[in-house]
């Protein structure tokens, strides 16, 4: 479904993605993991067309997407920071985003699910971080798209909202959607992800199932398995 070939990106002198190759098949939850600065966000934003790579190709369903914009109609994105125009109300914002896309949205169901009805007429500037994140989730999940990209979706959510989020993700997966998630919460990955894509120094260091990762690193616990991967890198970095 997503095919990335020789993706190369540098910011100034810093090379973030180095000849990255990745194929993501259709359907399932893919966790994109890696230490800070490993290129997770750059990778995601390249797929979204927000970052323009120096070299390489990205194709979705066999079609090149670089410098295109129409393909985004079949893609939902949850940004990491939920910051909206403070003068608009929740309702207006949802209407606006609906207006921007030529497709149907089922926002009401999600609004009820996250308990947002009392906030609908409140200005976005007056909402708490967690409530903003819920609005953010409504905006992301209200469209029916084949590809869903979530950047740190759990930030600021209370336990009930978190359960709802997990249910929502599972539901989308059951419909055959492809979901890319970045997160630092390993329990979330352990519970949800079908496959892990581990980035290190702008390259894919590991790609496979959670079990395969545990086996490869000889660890029972995912958190330790990931720590093990990062540690190896630290050791090679210091011995260089």
């Amino acid at each position: 479904m997503i095919e990335i070939k020789n993706l190369y990106k540098k910011f100034g002198k810093l090379t973030v993605l180095e000849e990255l190759n990745l194929t993501i098949s259709k359907g399932g939850i893919f966790a994109i993991l890696g230490p800070n600065g490993s290129g997770k966000t750059t990778l995601i934003k390249s797929i979204l067309g927000m970052i323009i790579p120096n070299k390489g190709e990205i194709a979705i369903d066999g079609e090149n997407i670089l410098r295109k914009w129409k393909y985004r109609n079949n893609l939902n994105y949850l940004p990491q920071v939920a910051n909206f125009p403070s003068n608009l109300s929740v309702k207006e914002l949802i209407e606006m985003v609906k207006n921007l896309r030529p497709k149907k949205a089922n926002s009401q169901e999600l609004i009820d699910l996250f308990g947002l009805p009392p906030f609908m007429n409140k200005k976005l500037g007056n909402l708490s971080g967690g409530t903003k994140q819920k609005v953010n989730l409504v905006l992301t999940f209200m469209f029916d798209s084949d590809l869903i990209i979530l950047d740190e979706p759990t930030t600021g959510l209370d336990p009930i909202a978190l359960i709802h989020l997990k249910e929502l993700i599972s539901k989308e997966k059951a419909k055959g959607k492809t979901i890319l998630v970045t997160t630092h919460i390993m329990s979330f990955v352990d519970e949800m992800a079908d496959e892990i894509v581990f980035l290190l120094d702008g390259k894919i260091y590991f790609k496979g199932s959670v079990d395969a990762l545990k086996k490869q690193t000889d660890q029972e616990n995912l958190e330790h398995a990931i720590a093990n991967l990062i540690e190896k890198q630290y050791q090679t970095a210091t011995s260089k």
Binding site: F11, I52, R72, E92, R101
Partner: protein, 260 residues
């Protein structure tokens, strides 16, 4: 693009600052018309304020809007919309809402004092047109700066410096040159130098229409002979338009390469 434009205007029209700006112009014009029986003088005073203040407010609003709506812009960038349309929508939205504050703030007192029937209508319209141009020019320049500089504080600093350059420093250097090369014919130099600064260009355009050029001596007469004609008006309005077009072109080329 129209959808983005609609919402950024909607957002700005509900911001407190749009009203502060509107009320400022309202009070200023009311008091000027109240205190001054001479409309020409009132217009000159208004011009002096507009020519310096609209660029400043345009610059500040431009950079402020860009930086404060950064995350929201990212959300828009992930929607199926062309990049250039998002930014053009925002840019026109800011410029239009500022122009609306100006036109209403100055226009309402003008209409209430029944000046529509006076001969000053043309000068007054020119003042508003020039004010609108300055809004569009300086918001475009501010957006250019904000797009090029990721650091908010730095961007703000450069934007203010840009305004200061056009409003004060440029004139100081210009004056210095005029005095230093006093012995040479400076007509053409003066003409070109005024074209290169939108604030100066606007000021001269209005002053000359108000027949105040007699105060400017020989150069004034020369400038009058150029700007005072219809040809001069067309040329200077085109120069002002270039001040909008060029920054927009740079903006769109910058956008093609920019990472968010």
């Amino acid at each position: 693009m129209l959808k983005i434009l609609k919402y950024s205007i909607y957002d700005l029209l509900r911001s407190r600052w749009s009203y502060v700006y509107f009320i400022f112009y309202l009070m200023l014009s009311f008091s000027l018309f109240f205190l001054n029986s001479d409309i020409d003088k009132a217009i000159i005073t208004l011009m002096n304020v507009i020519v310096v203040l609209t660029p400043l407010i345009g610059t500040i609003f431009g950079v402020m809007y860009y930086y404060s709506s950064k995350e929201f812009t990212e959300l828009l960038l992930a929607q199926p919309i062309k990049r250039s349309k998002i930014f053009m929508g925002q840019y026109i939205g800011i410029s239009l809402s500022l122009t609306l504050s100006l036109v209403l703030g100055v226009g309402i007192p003008f209409v209430i004092y029944g000046l529509f029937k006076s001969a000053a209508v043309f000068d007054f319209t020119l003042l508003l047109v020039v004010g609108a141009f300055l809004n569009f020019i300086f918001v475009a320049l501010a957006y250019n700066i904000a797009l090029s500089i990721n650091n908010k504080i730095k961007g703000f600093g450069y934007a203010i410096l840009m305004w200061l350059t056009f409003a004060v420093i440029y004139d100081a250097v210009f004056m210095g040159l005029l005095i230093h090369y006093n012995d040479y014919p400076l007509d053409k130099f003066t003409l070109i130098a005024t074209m290169l600064n939108p604030i100066d260009l606007s000021r001269i355009l209005i002053l000359l229409k108000l027949d105040a050029s007699a105060l400017l001596g020989y150069t004034g007469a020369f400038l009058q002979s150029f700007y005072g004609t219809n040809m001069g008006l067309i040329v200077s309005l085109s120069a002002l338009s270039m001040w909008i077009v060029l920054p927009i072109l740079r903006m769109s080329s910058k956008l093609k390469k920019k990472d968010f």
